[in-house]
Structure formats: structure tokens, C-alpha cells
């Protein structure tokens, strides 16, 4: 044998990679800054939002009993029959009764009138939580005499003090307490309908409970500790339900409250994921650049005897450490955000939100940060093990041929599996998590193909006749070592996330805004009887006020839908018509034409019935039609205060519910309901507060039965609160967009590596600064433009799907917004690209090469 088979084994030091990682990072801190920023912003959004959401759900859970104030609430438009009441009373002897209705209240001390929600209460309600009053004892004392509790804001507004009187109908009550909060009520609710509590046993004296009055009857029950809520109780509850009463328990209220925040919660989740994924792209891009820069060092160290695994471990230790730093910074920022969010949303949540630091969120945020840092960095880092030591002596040395790197594929699958697990943990649906992950993978593949297609297309189609600078700039997109595919993927993915978020943000903000701000009506007169109609109209005109809308309203109930009654629908489990369709009271109107807030979507609107024998075709709102799965021609039988009326669905209307005016689910043509018992609504606009007070007093004096809603005040507060919601949405969205910009910078910085030497060479052989700027501009303009365009198209698709399956609305792309996003991303890409290349142009070629070397 003329040679040895084996060499002596070297005892490689385990500590050495650690030592090298630390030494190398001393001079690389600046280069890792983008990476730290990207991960910290992503983790901040994740920690902030998940902590907030957990906190909110926890508080809803903790305070669920106080949301309803009792174990069970039974609500109906008439009192519970005595037989049922007694049966329930046997099981839950703690019971309170409440009657509430809207009525004008009058403050004699200041001569003010205002529509309020009058609540007449008997019993110990609330059993959980408190009716909060000043003084505290007033909440229990008011039932013991002719006393009232009045909403604090109402008292301030009408300059009323404790000891003054409030007149409700015919009865005067002494105000003994300022009402601050009642169970389950939000700030916004209190403003829209300020509450006046009066004792139940003095309700009759108000003389307001006339037949046909719109009144709600409530019974609150507290369970006996030993009550069995499954047996007889549940039978009773289902009986109550069948009788058309609405039964609410703590669980249901909790779900309802949770559902009310579904949009916000879904949106916040979207924001958190967007920020995290953008952060991940930022990590992947910055580590890609970092890895490229370290190739030379690795080649040299390989010459000196470093093993391939050691190369990865040095930079993996750095990534892990800086990922940890970034994640900790992110978690701290997230905690800050979590502390600030409850302040932002306090007005529109029904629970007291005390920010509680969720260590689990913080720790899992830090953990997720480190794991995503390592996983997304590994995509590039694993390539270091393939760095040939030959590169130390030949800079152009590369692996002989392209080989499918199994480790990179493994890392790719690990990332997808991790993302899927993360999404699953957040939303709890494996199917949704799989769809999202698959969608993400598909998007990456499509974007990669677009990039390849662009490079190929330019190579084939680029004419020689175009000016040199443009030709050079565009050629950079397909020349060897081009980053076209990679940049189009990262830019496109980033744009897709940001654009989706912006589309969703606009849609959600739009959803909570009030249409027609300037000339909208601000005063609504309700309950005008038919004989009073013309007089009230004249009175309004006498005060120089416009009659903006005058609408007759007829109340009715749905008896049959396509021949199926409520009972039949309940028995047949295959019928999906919801209960409320039969239970609710329909307030409908009739007219011969559609108004500005209505758009005909399907069918034909027939505005007049001339012959009493003719079929009646009603128009229903498209949302209502969708919920009831109605088709044109479906038969609907209504009970109009005793008389049955057969109608057919003639058309679907899209109704803009955000407009301040009377809108209707069901619209009748003229010639049908004119003779039915009805009341009227008159809508006007009063610009002057004093005129408003005088007009309201004149109406109430002459027509005490008429209720007036002063919308100005409500709308102002409503807009203020909706503005706050919009701010929360924007605040969160911009957080993600911040991460997006960092991602954009990291992505573009990666192209620097490739272009630096080429541009320096062009400079060396005499290219002017102007020419170089143009070349760089052309390259980034096309990259940014196409990346943005691809991203926007993907965002349109994503938003449409999200709208349909998550947020339940139809997305109609706003082209001006799309153009704006496209232009912004393109301009940002070009600007960052030019900034990134400025030293190539401003410094001498030798200086640049020395710095880069």
C-alpha cells in the first residue's frame, strides 16, 4: 500500500464557532440592523395584538356575568304569560322585571326635552355587576319612591342636578342619582340612547304604556345554586323560545359580545400575521445579503480547515442571538402597544379592560421570533456549506452545476410547517391554516415565475434601438447573477401583504363611517299619527326647516315564506330560514320609486298596484335576501295587524344603511298599505341649537305622543367613536406597513451586492453619473413596477377571498387606491435603489471597491 486511507482526526473545538460568531459580529452589527428591525417590528405586532386579544377575551370571560347582569334574560314585546313566569319562578326565585321603551323626557328646572330610554325596574337586578351611580346608594334606593336615576351625560347636557325633577309622561320623578354605567352598556350605547331609570311600580302613572306602544319587557333570573339547568329548566326555556321570546344566557351574551368584535379581532390577526410575515421576508432578505457577503470569509476559513457545519453554526449563532435581541425589543414594543390599545378602544368595548401582561404571549413572541429568524435565515445559511474553498483563490469559482439542495428544501418545508402550526394555533382551524399556507406557497411560486418570465421576456423582446441607458438597465434584469426573480418575489409578496391590509383597512373604515356628512338630516320625528301628519309638516315648514323625508311606517310580521310557517320551519331541520325572520317585527314603508340610498340589484321594481286583485311585488334588501336565501318570485305572507297579505319578492335592492335616513328591509309599492294602521316619520335638518330647542318644545307641547331624536349630538359622538375605531385600524395597519418598508429596504439592499462591481466598472470605463443614475433608475423602475403590479393583483384576489369568507362583504377594487399603492411601491423601490447606489456614483471607483472588499 503506497498511501494512507484515513487522516488523523482533528479535535474540533465546540466553543470556537461561538467565539467566531462574537468576533465576527463586532464589525457586522450595522449590517444586522435591518434584520433586527424587521424581526422586532414583526414580533411587536404579534405580541401586542395577541396580548390584547387574549386580554379582551379573558375580560369578556371574567366579566361575562356582568355583561348581562343575571343568569338568564328573557325579552319580548309583551309580558311573559303568568303560567310561564310562575314555572320559571319556581326554579329561579330571584327574578327582576324591567320594561323599557323610548320616550321624550322633560326637565322642568331647565325646560329641556330629550328622547331617552326609559327603564322601569323592579327587583334586585343586577345580580352580577352594578348599576353604577353617584351617590352609590341611589342605585338601590330609587325603587323605594318616586325617584329616578338619570344618565350623567344627559344631566350635564341639560344642566340638571340631583334633587331636580324629570317628567316621564304624566309622572314627575325626583332625580336621586347620576347614572354612570349599567351592565353590558358601552360608551357609544349610552350616548345613542341615554337611560332614565324609574321604579316599576310607578310605571302606570306615566300613562305611556298604551296599546301599540313599542315596549320591551324583560325578565332577569338568577339561578338557585342547586338548580339543574338541563332538565325541566331547559324544557321551559325552549317553550319560552317557541312563544317568540328571546332567551339570552351568559354564554350566549359572551358569544355575542365576542362576535361583535369579530371584525376587529380578525383584522388585528391579519395585521399581526402581515407584520410577522413581512418581518420574515425582511429576515430572509437581509440574511441573504449577509450570507453573500460572508462567502469570502467562509471560503478562506474552509482553506484553513473549517468544516462545512461550522460555517453554518457561526452565522446561525449570530442569527439566533440577534434574533433574540430583535424579538426581545419587539416583545417590549408589543407590551407597550398592548398597554396603549385598551386606552384606544375603551369607549367601544363593554368590559373594563385592565391591561394584563401575558407572559405567555411575550415568551411565545420571543420564541417565535427566534425560531422564524433561524428558519428564514437558514434558507440562505445552508448554502454556506457548499462554499468551495477554491473561491479563496478564484473569486469566480462556483459549484460545478446546479443541484437540488435537499437541505434547503427541508428548511422550506419546515418553514411552511411552522407557519401552518402558528396559524393553526391562532385561528384554530387546520383547514384554514392549510389554505393560507398553500396560498402563500402558491403566491411565492407565481411571483417567482413572473420574475423568470420578465427576465426571459426582456431578453427575447428588448429591441436594440432603444437608448443605451435603458437597454443596459433592462438587460440587468436577465444577465447572469440577476436577482429579478428573487426581487419580484419579495417585492410582490410585500406589496401583496401591504395592499391587502390597506384594502381591508379602507373597507373596514368605510364600513364604520357615516355617509353624507355635510347635509345629512339631524332630527327625526317618530310616531306621528296619520291625522297629525299634515299639521306637523306645516309646523316644520313654519320654522323654516326642510322636510327632507316623510315616510309612512306600517308594522307587520312574516307568517309564511314560500308556504312554510314558523312552526313548520322549526320542525323541518332541512329548512335554513333563521328564527328571527319570523320573530321580528317588520317596519315597512310604501312608495312608488327607489330613493338615493337604494340601488336595484336584481328583478324589477313595480312601484304601484292599480288593481286590488293584482299580485303585490315587494322589494327586499339584498343582505336580507342573502340571509334568507330568497329568490325572485318567492312568496311571503305578512300579518299586517290581523290581516294576512300575500306578496311576492319582485326585486332585490342594495341599501346603504350608513345613510342617516329611514331604510327598510322590505319595501311595498303604493296602492296596498295606505289603509293599514300606520304612523309616520318626518326627517329634517336644524342647523341652529336654539332653533332646535324651540322647535322640539313646540312639537312636544302640541303633540306629546311624538318622539324626537336629536341626531346631531348622537352623530357627533358616534363619529368621534367611529373615528377612534378608524384610528385603531390605521394605527395597526401602519405598524405593518412600517415592517413592509423595512422589508422593502432589505430586499433592495440585496441587489446592491450584484450591481456594485458592474456599476463601478462602468464608472471606471467612463460612464457619467447621469448615465449611471438612469441605468439604475431603469432597473429599479421595472423591478418595482412589476413587483408592485403582481403584488396588487394578488392582493385583489386575497381581499376578495377574505371579504367573502372571513369579513362577509363584497370587495370592489378601488382603482385609484390600487394606482396609488402601485406608484408608492415603485417610487419607494426606485428611491431606495438609487439611495443604495449613491456611493457607487459619488465616490471614486477604487474607494468603493476597497470598501466592498
Amino acid at each position: 500500500m503506497d498511501h494512507k486511507i484515513n487522516i488523523d482526526s482533528t479535535k474540533y473545538s465546540m466553543v470556537w464557532p461561538l467565539k467566531m460568531a462574537w468576533r465576527d459580529s463586532r464589525k457586522s452589527k450595522g449590517k444586522l440592523l435591518l434584520f433586527v428591525l424587521a424581526i422586532s417590528l414583526g414580533i411587536a405586532a404579534l405580541v401586542g395584538i395577541t396580548s390584547f386579544r387574549e386580554n379582551l377575551l379573558q375580560e369578556i370571560n371574567n366579566q361575562a356575568k356582568t355583561l348581562i347582569g343575571a343568569d338568564i334574560e328573557i325579552k319580548g314585546s309583551e309580558p311573559l304569560p303568568d303560567s310561564l313566569l310562575l314555572a320559571l319562578y319556581e326554579l329561579a326565585p330571584e327574578m327582576s322585571r324591567e320594561v323599557y321603551f323610548a320616550s321624550m323626557v322633560y326637565f322642568p328646572s331647565t325646560d329641556g326635552t330629550r328622547l331617552a330610554q326609559v327603564r322601569a325596574l323592579a327587583g334586585e337586578y343586577p345580580y352580577y355587576g352594578e348599576i353604577e351611580t353617584i351617590p352609590v346608594e341611589a342605585s338601590r334606593k330609587f325603587q323605594k319612591g318616586e325617584y329616578a336615576l338619570v344618565d350623567e351625560k344627559l344631566m350635564i347636557q341639560y344642566n340638571v342636578e340631583i334633587g331636580d325633577f324629570v317628567k316621564v309622561g304624566q309622572q314627575q320623578f325626583e332625580i336621586i342619582g347620576r347614572l354612570q354605567k349599567i351592565p353590558g352598556q358601552t360608551e357609544i350605547g349610552a350616548t345613542a340612547a341615554p337611560v332614565v331609570y324609574i321604579p316599576y311600580n310607578h310605571l302606570d302613572q306615566t300613562d305611556l304604556l298604551q296599546k301599540g306602544s313599542r315596549v320591551n319587557y324583560l325578565q332577569y333570573f338568577q339561578f338557585h345554586p342547586e338548580v339543574d339547568t338541563t332538565g325541566k329548566w331547559s324544557q321551559l326555556v325552549s317553550l319560552v323560545d317557541k312563544k317568540g321570546f328571546r332567551v339570552d344566557d351568559i354564554e350566549e351574551r359572551k358569544e355575542e359580545t365576542g362576535r361583535a368584535f369579530k371584525d376587529l379581532s380578525n383584522f388585528l390577526e391579519l395585521v399581526a400575521f402581515t407584520a410577522l410575515l413581512l418581518g420574515c421576508i425582511g429576515v430572509a432578505s437581509s440574511i441573504y445579503v449577509y450570507t453573500k457577503e460572508k462567502t469570502g470569509i467562509v471560503a478562506t476559513l474552509r482553506c484553513l480547515g473549517m468544516k462545512s457545519g461550522q460555517a453554518i453554526s457561526i452565522f446561525l449563532i449570530q442569527v439566533g442571538f440577534f434574533g433574540l435581541i430583535g424579538s426581545i425589543i419587539g416583545a417590549l414594543l408589543g407590551v407597550g402597544m398592548h398597554l396603549y390599545l385598551p386606552v384606544l378602544v375603551k369607549d367601544f368595548i363593554p368590559v373594563e379592560l385592565t391591561p394584563q401582561l401575558s407572559w405567555l404571549s411575550v415568551l411565545s413572541g420571543v420564541g417565535i421570533g427566534v425560531v422564524v429568524s433561524i428558519l428564514f435565515a437558514l434558507i440562505s445559511l445552508v448554502s454556506l456549506r457548499k462554499v468551495s474553498p477554491l473561491q479563496a483563490i478564484r473569486s469566480d469559482a462556483e459549484p460545478a452545476r446546479f443541484q437540488l439542495d435537499w437541505l434547503q428544501i427541508l428548511v422550506g418545508f419546515s418553514i411552511l410547517a411552522f407557519l401552518m402550526a402558528l396559524i393553526y394555533l391562532q385561528i384554530g382551524s387546520l383547514q384554514d391554516a392549510a389554505i393560507f399556507t398553500f396560498g402563500l406557497l402558491l403566491t411565492i411560486i407565481i411571483l417567482g415565475l413572473i420574475g423568470k418570465g420578465l427576465a426571459l421576456g426582456i431578453k427575447k423582446l428588448l429591441p436594440n434601438s432603444i437608448p443605451y441607458v435603458w437597454r443596459q438597465g433592462l438587460s440587468n434584469l436577465y444577465r447572469p447573477h440577476n436577482q429579478t426573480s428573487l426581487l419580484i418575489t419579495t417585492l410582490g409578496l410585500g406589496t401583496a401583504f401591504i395592499a391587502t391590509l390597506l384594502f381591508m383597512q379602507s373597507l373596514l373604515v368605510d364600513r364604520v363611517s357615516i355617509a353624507g356628512a355635510e347635509d345629512r338630516p339631524n332630527t327625526i320625528l317618530f310616531d306621528i299619527q296619520t291625522p297629525q301628519k299634515d299639521e306637523v309638516r306645516q309646523l316644520t315648514l313654519d320654522y323654516d326647516l326642510p322636510v327632507m323625508q316623510e315616510v309612512p311606517i306600517v308594522t307587520m310580521r312574516l307568517v309564511e315564506l314560500n308556504g312554510i310557517s314558523k312552526n313548520e320551519a322549526e320542525r323541518d331541520t332541512t329548512i335554513t330560514t333563521p328564527d328571527w325572520a319570523y320573530n321580528r317585527e317588520y317596519r315597512v314603508t310604501y312608495r312608488d320609486s327607489l330613493i338615493a340610498s337604494e340601488t336595484l340589484k336584481e328583478g324589477k321594481w313595480i312601484g304601484k298596484v292599480t288593481n286590488p286583485a293584482d299580485s303585490i311585488f315587494v322589494s327586499v334588501s339584498s343582505g336580507y335576501a342573502e340571509n334568507l336565501e330568497l329568490k325572485i318570485g318567492d312568496e311571503m305572507v305578512f300579518n299586517v295587524q290581523g290581516a294576512l297579505l300575500k306578496t311576492y319578492v319582485g326585486s332585490f335592492r342594495e341599501v346603504d344603511w350608513r345613510r342617516v335616513q329611514t331604510n327598510f328591509l322590505v319595501l311595498f309599492p303604493v296602492g296596498v298599505l295606505e289603509k293599514a294602521p300606520q304612523f309616520h316619520v318626518l326627517i329634517t335638518r336644524i342647523d341652529n341649537n336654539q332653533l332646535s330647542a324651540r322647535y322640539q318644545q313646540a312639537v312636544v307641547r302640541s303633540y306629546p305622543n311624538i318622539s324626537i331624536i336629536d341626531l346631531e349630538l348622537i352623530l357627533k359622538t358616534l363619529e368621534e367613536i367611529l373615528g377612534k375605531i378608524a384610528f385603531v385600524i390605521r394605527f395597526m395597519a401602519f405598524f405593518s406597513i412600517g415592517t413592509g418598508v423595512i422589508m422593502l429596504i432589505s430586499s433592495i439592499v440585496l441587489s446592491r451586492f450584484q450591481r456594485m462591481r458592474e456599476n463601478v466598472l462602468l464608472r471606471t470605463i467612463g460612464a457619467s453619473s447621469r448615465k449611471l443614475w438612469k441605468i439604475i433608475f431603469a432597473e429599479y423602475f421595472f423591478l418595482g413596477g412589476l413587483g408592485a403590479l403582481s403584488g396588487i393583483l394578488i392582493a385583489v384576489l386575497t381581499t376578495t377571498l377574505l371579504g367573502k369568507f372571513v369579513f362577509e362583504f363584497t370587495f370592489i377594487p378601488d382603482f385609484s387606491q390600487m394606482i396609488l399603492i402601485g406608484l408608492t411601491i415603485t417610487v419607494l423601490t426606485v428611491a431606495i435603489g438609487l439611495l443604495n447606489s449613491r456611493d457607487v456614483i459619488s465616490q471614486s471607483p477604487l474607494e468603493v471597491l476597497r470598501n466592498e472588499g
Binding site: H3, K11, S13, D24, C303
Partner: protein, 221 residues
């Protein structure tokens, strides 16, 4: 004296499109322990490729290479790395110091890689030997070209290699600095008994070695 490097029927080809380019064609030579040898030839004659193959940085298409009787062809990439760490030293034309490490740390790397302890003083002695005792904590960017090459020489000798490969060691330096680097290289070579293989264009430098092999078009002439 025993043979430290043995090259037998060495051929290296590259694929360029559909064409196969033969960069080295049937090269044979040996070099004894402690000897010095230079490989000279015009640009593109295959000098650097030959150096890369001899040092185990690249794989031969045909033929055999043995360093200190170890056949390189059969070794894995990591075994080659171990062999380089134990028996081979390098000096590069563009110095190839690690820019993020100080001069002292650069010299310590090969010893640290093999897990040796108490290496600071030995590394300092080496830097002292190459005249850089006052530059221990300087980063490569803070050193001149000549100083960087001195650090590279100190690093190359730090693991007491059996054979040292130098690729145009004075190619990036001015004449005066080149002379001092050459002297240093040969002095250390003699002191440590290391075998020296130099790739160079510089005929004067080549003349200072014990053997010269000439390459043209991938063949020994």
C-alpha cells in the same frame, strides 16, 4: 527525505456549454519534504488550478494527488478540511484575511480550529517574528498591503504546516515590499522546515526556489 506531495497523471477538465476544456493534461511531479518549488507559466496556463488541486481545494477529473501519503481523491470535503488544517498552509495573492478579526485573531484561527489551547503567546510570537508586534489588535482594513501579507504569512505558519501553498504572494505588492515578503517567506520556510509551493509570474522569485515547473496550455513543459 520523504515525498510530501505526489501528483500522478493529473487531468482537470471543465464543461463550458457543450465544449469540454482540458485545463490540466496529464501532470506528473513530486516534491520532497523541506524543498521549495515554483509553478510558472503564462496566464491561463492552469497554474492556479494546479495549486487548488494540490491543496485539496478542488477535485481532479483524472489522476491522483497525495499529500504526505494521504490520497486526496478519496477524502470527503470535511476530511479535506481536516487535512488542510493539520498539514497545509496558504498564502493568497489578495491576502484573504478575515476582515472582522484582528491581526492576532487571524493568526490564531487555524490553531483554534483544531482546538489547541494557550495559543495567544505562540501567535503573538509569530506576529513579532513578521515584525507586527505593535499591530496585534488592528483589523485588516487598518493595515497596509504589505502588513496584511505579513499577517497572512504568520497565519500560514501558525499551524506548523508540512506544506505551504502560496498563490502569487507578492502579486499585489510594490517591489520593495515584495522583497521583504519574499525574504520572510523563505526564512520561515527554512526555520520550520516547511515545503513551499509557489505559483508566480515573477521569474526572480521563481529562481529562488529549489525546483521550477513550467506550465503551458495545461501541460508541463
Amino acid at each position: 527525505m520523504s515525498t510530501i506531495l505526489q501528483v500522478e497523471s493529473l487531468t482537470k477538465t471543465f464543461q463550458s456549454g457543450h465544449r469540454q476544456i482540458r485545463v490540466l493534461d496529464n501532470i506528473n511531479f513530486t516534491i520532497e519534504e523541506g524543498q521549495s518549488m515554483s509553478i510558472v507559466g503564462p496566464s491561463g496556463s492552469g497554474k492556479t488550478t494546479l495549486l487548488g488541486l494540490c491543496a485539496g481545494l478542488d477535485r481532479a477529473t483524472e489522476g491522483r494527488i497525495l499529500i504526505n501519503q494521504v490520497l486526496l481523491n478519496k477524502l470527503s470535503e470535511d476530511e479535506l478540511a481536516q487535512l488542510r488544517n493539520q498539514q497545509v498552509g496558504f498564502i493568497f495573492q489578495n491576502f484573504q484575511l478575515i476582515p472582522t478579526l484582528t491581526a492576532l485573531e487571524n493568526v490564531m484561527v487555524p490553531l483554534e480550529l483544531r482546538g489547541e489551547k494557550n495559543i495567544v503567546s505562540a501567535s503573538k510570537d509569530l506576529l513579532n517574528r513578521v515584525g507586527l508586534s505593535d499591530r496585534l489588535d488592528h483589523y485588516p482594513g487598518q493595515l497596509s498591503g504589505g502588513e496584511q501579507q505579513r499577517v497572512a504569512i504568520a497565519r500560514a505558519f501558525s499551524n506548523r504546516p508540512k506544506i505551504l501553498f502560496a498563490d502569487e504572494p507578492t502579486g499585489n505588492l510594490d517591489e520593495e515590499t515584495s522583497h521583504s515578503i519574499e525574504s520572510l517567506l523563505f526564512e520561515l520556510n527554512r526555520e520550520q522546515g516547511t515545503t513551499l509551493v509557489i505559483v508566480t509570474h515573477d521569474q526572480d522569485l521563481a529562481q529562488k526556489t529549489d525546483t521550477i515547473i513550467r506550465l503551458k496550455g495545461g501541460k508541463l513543459i
